[in-house]
C-alpha cells in the first residue's frame, strides 16, 4: 500500500508511524542481543535518526531492514564479543509478604543460575528465546523481525529452552 504511495519515507507522518511500529522491537532486539550496558535506547535513537537523514534513499518496504541493520552495526562497533550478562529485577518483597525468607533466597539463587545460563546461550538462541518468552512474540513475528524462517525460530527457541534446563540442573 505504502509502496505505491511513497517512494521514500521523508514524509513526517510516515516516519512517525514507522518509528512507532518498529522502535520498541528494535530496542528489545538490541537489548537481548547485546545487553543493557551499551545503551540500546541510544542506539535505537541513532539508528532512526540515520533513517531520517537518509530518508530520500530508503523506500518504506526497505526501511525496517535498514533500521535493524544500522542498529545492529552501531552496537557491533562498540561490542567486542564479550559475554552478555542480562541484569534481572526480581520483585521486591513488600513490607508484609506471605513468602518465607527461605523461599525468597531460593528464588534469588535460581535467578542467578538462570542469568548465568542465559549468558551461555548463543546470541541467536538468546534473542529468539527472550523475544518469545519475555516479549510474548509469536514464532512468526520473530521470523519476520529477524528475517529468518519460522522453522529456524522454532529451532532456536526450543534449543535455548533445552540448554537452559540442562544448565540449571548442573549448577
Amino acid at each position: 500500500m505504502s509502496k505505491s504511495l511513497h517512494k521514500n519515507i521523508c514524509d513526517k507522518v510516515l516516519f512517525s508511524n514507522f518509528f512507532k511500529k518498529h522502535s520498541e522491537d528494535l530496542h528489545s532486539f538490541l537489548y537481548y542481543k547485546f545487553g543493557n550496558h551499551l545503551n540500546p535506547k541510544d542506539k535505537v535513537q541513532e539508528a532512526f535518526i540515520k533513517v531520517w537523514e537518509n530518508c530520500k534513499n530508503i523506500s518504506p518496504d526497505k526501511a525496517k531492514n535498514y533500521v535493524f541493520t544500522v542498529g545492529n552495526n552501531l552496537m557491533l562497533n562498540e561490542v567486542k564479543h564479550q559475554k552478555v550478562v542480562l541484569k534481572f529485577q526480581q520483585e521486591k518483597p513488600t513490607s508484609h509478604t506471605n513468602e518465607s525468607p527461605e523461599f525468597l533466597l531460593e528464588e534469588h539463587e535460581y535467578s542467578l543460575k538462570l542469568q548465568k545460563a542465559i549468558s551461555n546461550l548463543t546470541e541467536a538462541q538468546r534473542v529468539a528465546f527472550l523475544l518469545n518468552r519475555i516479549e510474548g512474540k509469536k514464532h512468526k513475528e520473530i521470523a519476520q523481525l529477524l528475517n529468518i524462517s519460522t522453522k529456524a525460530v522454532e529451532k532456536r527457541i526450543y534449543g535455548a529452552l533445552r540448554k537452559l534446563k540442562e544448565e540449571i540442573k548442573e549448577l
Binding site: 535513537q45 535467578s111 526450543y158
Partner: protein, 295 residues
C-alpha cells in the same frame, strides 16, 4: 504427539486444551514452567515509544534548524560586514587630529580647506554636510571656507559663524582667539555676538576680551612660525610646548608679562633664543624638559 513438538507448540502458545493436558503430564513440566515464568525478571528496560519519539523529533528539529541556520548565519555575517563598512565610511563622523609639533591640512566635502595646528582636532559629519556645514574644533585651525550656506565652527568656548571667508579659530585653555583674514565672521562668545571684518582679531584672555587689528594675510603658523603681539608670556610658552612637544618649566618668571615677537617651528635652539633673549632669560635643557630663569 512427540514430546519435542508439544514443547514447541507450547512455546508458540498454540496448544489446545487436550494438548495442554498432555504437556502438563511431561516429567519436566515443572522445570520448563519455572524457567519460562522466571524469564520476566530479565525483561528489557521499559521502552516508551512516545517519549522516545519526542526525543527523536527534538533532535531532528535541531538538526534541521542548523541546516537553515548555517547558510543564514553566513549571509548575516556578510551583511554585517557590508553594513559595518558602510557605516564606518558614511554614517560616522569624521575626526582628524594632530599630535604635538604636527600640522595637517585637510579638505572638507565642499572643498573648503582647514589647516590644523599642533595638538588640535576637528570633527565633522560628511553625510550631513549638504544640509549642515558644521565642524567641531578643539585647539586651533585656519579655515578657508568656500561660498555657500552658513558655516559653523563649534568650540568649547563659543560658536563662530561665517559665510565664506578665511579665518582662524583658536580655542586653547589659556586663550580663545578668532582672526578674520577675508570676508566676515560672527563670533558668539560669552553671551555676546561680535561681527569681525577683514583684519579684525578677537581675543579672550584670562576673562577679558579685546579686539585688535592684524595686517597679516594668514596666520603665521601656516608658514611654520608662531607670532605674538602683546601676549602674556604663558600663552607663548603653551604654544611653544605644543609646537615642540616638550615641557617648559618657568623659574621665578612673571608669566603675565607681555611678549611681542615670534618663534619658528623647525629649529628649537633658534626658537628658544627667540623667546628668551628679548626678556633677558636663560634656558637649560634636559631630555624633554626645559627650564627658563632670569639672568
Amino acid at each position: 504427539m512427540k514430546r519435542e513438538e508439544l514443547i514447541k507448540k507450547w512455546l508458540d502458545n498454540e496448544l489446545d486444551s487436550k494438548e495442554l493436558e498432555l504437556f502438563k503430564n511431561l516429567d519436566d513440566y515443572e522445570d520448563l514452567l519455572r524457567i519460562s515464568n522466571s524469564m520476566r525478571y530479565f525483561k528489557a528496560d521499559s521502552y516508551d515509544t512516545h517519549v522516545e519519539f519526542e526525543k527523536i523529533e527534538k533532535i531532528i528539529e535541531v538538526k534541521q534548524k542548523r541546516n537553515w541556520f548555517k547558510p543564514l548565519s553566513s549571509i548575516a555575517a556578510v551583511l554585517l560586514v557590508i553594513f559595518g563598512v558602510y557605516y564606518s565610511f558614511s554614517i560616522q563622523e569624521t575626526e582628524v587630529s594632530t599630535l604635538a609639533s604636527q600640522k595637517q591640512t585637510l579638505e572638507l566635502p565642499d572643498h573648503s580647506s582647514v589647516s590644523l595646528n599642533a595638538l588640535s582636532s576637528l570633527t565633522y559629519d560628511a553625510d550631513e554636510w549638504d544640509i549642515n556645514r558644521e565642524v567641531e574644533l578643539k585647539g586651533e585651525a585656519f579655515f578657508k571656507v568656500e561660498k555657500g550656506a552658513t558655516f559653523h565652527v563649534k568650540t568649547a568656548s563659543g560658536l563662530v559663524t561665517v559665510v565664506g571667508t578665511e579665518f582662524i579659530v583658536k580655542d586653547r585653555e589659556e586663550l580663545f582667539e578668532v582672526i578674520c583674514y577675508e570676508g566676515s565672521v560672527r563670533v558668539n562668545h560669552n553671551g555676546s555676538s561680535i561681527l569681525l571684518k577683514e583684519g579684525d582679531r578677537y581675543t579672550y584672555i584670562n576673562g577679558t576680551s579685546g579686539q585688535t587689528k592684524t595686517t597679516q594675510e594668514n596666520p603665521s603658523w601656516i608658514n611654520n612660525t608662531s607670532t605674538f603681539k602683546s601676549m602674556p608670556y604663558s600663552v607663548v610658552i603653551a604654544e611653544f610646548e605644543r609646537q615642540y612637544g616638550i615641557a617648559i618649566h618657568l623659574e621665578e618668571i612673571d608669566a603675565k608679562q607681555l611678549y611681542t615677537g615670534s618663534f619658528i617651528h623647525d629649529n628649537m635652539d633658534i626658537a628658544l633664543k627667540s623667546i628668551t633673549l628679548p626678556l633677558n632669560l636663560k634656558f637649560s635643557r634636559t631630555n624633554r624638559m626645559i627650564t627658563l630663569k632670569s639672568e
